[in-house]
Symmetry: C2
Subunit: 377 residues, 2 copies
């Protein structure tokens, strides 16, 4: 708890020290200023100077208790194992937010479900804050369906796609988890307060930052790695160029999890980021709806794919050659197989084989040496 | 001319005989019924029985003369060399329309341009007949732009996407080629007659079938291989599941030409085929507009790509770390670099480097030991 207050979650140095020496020894060391990284040391000491860490711990625990929030650490049974995949994530990036992607040290949790269980079968649905009606509609379809199929819908609680995903999951009577970039006592944005209260009752509000923490801009980038790592796959519905959701998808791809992208009109600025991702990342998967999301994240054979089809009527069920042949059969009078072969551009053997089929399905009738179209019943 | 009347263009046997023995010897052989393929023999003899081939030739030539149509054969200077790529195309398919994809034997042509020259720098733009307003709009943007950049727009003359492509190219004062599946004297559909007349004046109407030939259904599938083979690349704008345009794209991919696909709303039946192609064929390229089409078909460096960007203002030009830092700088009062490092979650070295940059761009101001946001001018 104190470590995530002193240094941002995901920090490579702090996480490594905790792995080696444990949290208490690491905290003692941090407060002594005994750190190899000068920037981190300065940040920690500046923070510790603003408030006594012991007092911070007291305040935080009291605040959490009033709120009914609990803290979950890696040794707890409800710890979500999947986030540990961040331990070996290599982004090889020069930017600090890309370098510091280690696993969380703890989660603050509000809500009735064991965290690990809620995230076990979960899919993230993320996207633009300034979502279009199209994006909101598609999000609702996918998130509602995921929840109806027993999947937990994970998102970031923001306006637009995130809210649509949370709301649709709850409307389906399902579970949803909002991963916050601030304290679970002050979920951001404030305009979604009623939704957050509903999530805290029927799903989970979770955060790596202690209650009272502000939603600083860089924290969303840090938070995104949790959305990517805690779920079985992530669906991006709408994203402008260079948006935060694109960064989340970068994490998903780096973790080799399914990165599912919904395309949209090329005329919509809200789909520019989606299309760019599909162009630049061959490992991203284009999905057009719930069925393809389920097919992607489900166990093999769990959701058999239904290939998209044209309009359904009897003629459409025909293979191309039979369709060509049927086209050549006269409505009035009859035609011989040889005439049909010439007209349809097929060889005689094919024509004879296909004619038997068409006769069986009742689409053509034999009359003497020739065939004619069957009358409609 | 007579060969394409006796047997459908693209036929593997006829094309091979012409390559080996020439057209005249092949015609003599066909009329003698001396053919290995029984289906082909039956078709040819049935056709020859309906009309004397010599008389057909007379009739056709007179009809063509009245129309101002000419015939172009491989030995002509204006023969479009690119279609010969079909000679080695292997589709390994059990269906006859997929097996018979050999190059054309001739083209009937109406219009003022040498055929080969018109197709040299050409792009096909194809798609659904039942196009949506979205599809028509995107087609118009792309085809107009291609024509304005000096590219010939090739399509199939159908309603919907095809018509929008032809019309936009002409509106831009450019060249367009309609590849027909029937005689150039009776372009199909009749509802597009005025457009076809305009194309015959400013571009080209072309067909492998002699004047007088009917637009039989199977001929569109045969025709599609020419659209794929004659152009530098093909753009698919809208397509329902299992549509003819998807078959064209199969040919394009088999020829290893750029197969460019425009995505659309996943809620639109007219984009189902496009999305399916993008999911199933990793060699298909998602394109969102003219710039990406030009980038794909142009010579390397001819059309430098302009990466899509978010809204343009000074803050958006910043890298992520500078943006985080700027976020942490107080609007009132000042903050020290150490305080900023703690608040922005960055190390001190990064903060000092980025602060110099922000100061240079005039976004922050130094005041004593700290910095503050610059006043808006």
């Amino acid at each position: 708890m104190t470590l995530t207050w002193l240094a941002e979650p995901g920090n490579r140095t702090v996480w490594s020290l905790v792995q080696r020496d444990g949290a208490v020894a690491t905290l003692t060391r941090l407060l002594r200023g005994d750190l190899p990284d000068g920037g981190l040391r300065a940040g920690v000491l500046a923070k510790a100077a603003t408030l006594d860490p012991r007092r911070l711990a007291d305040l935080t625990l009291r605040r959490a208790e009033r709120l009914g929030a609990r803290i979950v650490v890696p040794s707890d049974e409800e710890w979500p194992a999947r986030v540990e995949s961040l331990a070996t994530l290599s982004l090889d990036a020069p930017r600090q937010v890309d370098r510091d992607v280690r696993p969380p040290l703890c989660f603050w949790v509000r809500g009735p479900w064991p965290l690990g269980e809620a995230l076990e079968r979960s899919v993230a649905v993320v996207g633009a804050r300034a979502a279009s009606g199209y994006g909101t509609h598609v999000t609702t379809e996918i998130a509602y369906g995921l929840a109806a199929h027993g999947w937990t819908v994970v998102s970031g609680g923001a306006y637009g796609i995130d809210s649509a995903a949370h709301r649709a999951a709850m409307a389906a009577g399902g579970r949803t988890v909002a991963v916050l970039a601030c304290g679970v006592d002050r979920p951001y944005p404030v305009g979604n307060s009623a939704m957050f209260e509903q999530i805290a009752e029927s799903g989970l509000l979770i955060s790596e930052w202690p209650p009272g923490s502000e939603p600083l801009k860089h924290r969303f980038l840090i938070r995104n790695r949790v959305i990517a790592a805690a779920t079985a796959g992530t669906v991006l519905v709408e994203a402008a160029a260079r948006s935060g959701a694109i960064q989340t998808m970068g994490r998903v791809l780096a973790l080799r999890r399914p990165a599912m992208v919904v395309p949209g009109p090329v005329t919509s600025a809200m789909s520019v980021g989606c299309h760019e991702l599909l162009r630049e990342r061959p490992d991203a998967t284009l999905v057009t709806g719930l069925a393809q999301v389920l097919e992607t994240v489900g166990r093999i054979g769990e959701y058999p794919a239904d290939p998209p089809r044209g309009p359904e009527h009897r003629r459409d069920a025909l293979d191309d050659e039979s369709a060509l042949l049927l086209e050549a059969v006269p409505r009035r009078g009859t035609a011989t197989p040889e005439e049909l072969a010439a007209k349809a551009g097929l060889d005689l053997r094919t024509v004879l084989r296909r004619l038997s089929l068409l006769e069986l399905t009742g689409l053509v009738e034999r009359r003497g040496d020739g065939v004619t179209l069957a009358r409609k019943r």
